[in-house]
């Protein structure tokens, strides 16, 4: 039951270039989307989020784009830095289950930024 899909298990980019991480979802009840970054032996760290009423949210080098009709979102990192190398998880939540806002995660994409 893959309600949130990250089809690229890995991505490698050069320092200074743009990293684009993609995520697709199938559940129309999702109305909030989050990106988490995870280093080995650490817990997921919240990065940026977007509500379904928006199509773009920007925070410094990180921008998330949401295309509701395509059920697709992407995370752009510009410029990419070696310290960005980590696993990036896309997660979704919705209010269909009340106010619990439980998160449904994708499998993650390992981003490697090469110096």
């Amino acid at each position: 039951d893959q309600q949130v899909k990250q089809n690229s298990p890995s991505l490698s980019v050069q320092e200074g270039r743009i990293s684009i991480l993609n995520c697709d979802y199938t559940n129309s009840m999702f109305d909030y989307f989050l990106w988490y970054k995870k280093y080995p032996a650490e817990g997921p760290t919240f990065l940026i989020s977007i509500s379904s009423i928006k199509d773009k949210n920007e925070d410094g080098r990180f921008t998330v784009f949401l295309n509701k009709s395509a059920k697709h979102l992407s995370l752009h990192i510009v410029p990419s830095q070696p310290g960005d190398s980590a696993v990036y998880f896309c997660a979704a939540s919705g209010q269909s289950g009340g106010s619990n806002y439980k998160l449904t995660f994708g499998k993650g994409t390992l981003l490697t930024v090469n110096p």
Binding site: Y32, L34, G43, P44, S49, G98, S99, Y101, L103
Partner: protein, 115 residues
């Protein structure tokens, strides 16, 4: 900056034994969660807890699992009789509880190894 803490970082136990994983959520947060990640798989929701009771649980969270908030700071996950397949990283998370605020903040995790 406030953070979620978890103890122990690594727990090794024999099959059939009881384990208790401990978490201290961020102090002014109202919703608490447990997730797990089996090696190589996605992060999965186990249970959410609000107002001293379970608000939602997944199919994984069967009678062998229980959660408790024994005092004003700790949030625990108990597995009564561990199985080999319970081996995973267990993450605690907390959320402020404001309507429309979905962001959850995760602890560093406890690696549970069942032998």
């Amino acid at each position: 900056e406030p953070e979620v803490t978890q103890t122990p970082s690594h727990q090794v136990t024999q099959m059939g034994q009881e384990v208790i994983l401990r978490c201290v959520p961020i102090s002014n947060h109202l919703y608490f969660y447990w997730y797990r990640q089996i090696l190589g798989q996605k992060v999965e929701f186990l249970v959410s807890f609000y107002n001293n009771e379970i608000s939602e649980k997944s199919e994984i969270f069967d009678d062998q699992f229980s959660v408790e908030r024994p005092d004003g700071s700790n949030f625990t996950l108990k597995i009564r009789s561990t199985k080999l397949e319970d081996s995973a990283m267990y993450f605690c998370a907390s959320r402020m509880g404001l309507a429309g605020v979905h962001e959850q903040f995760f602890g560093p995790g406890t690696r549970l190894t069942v032998l």
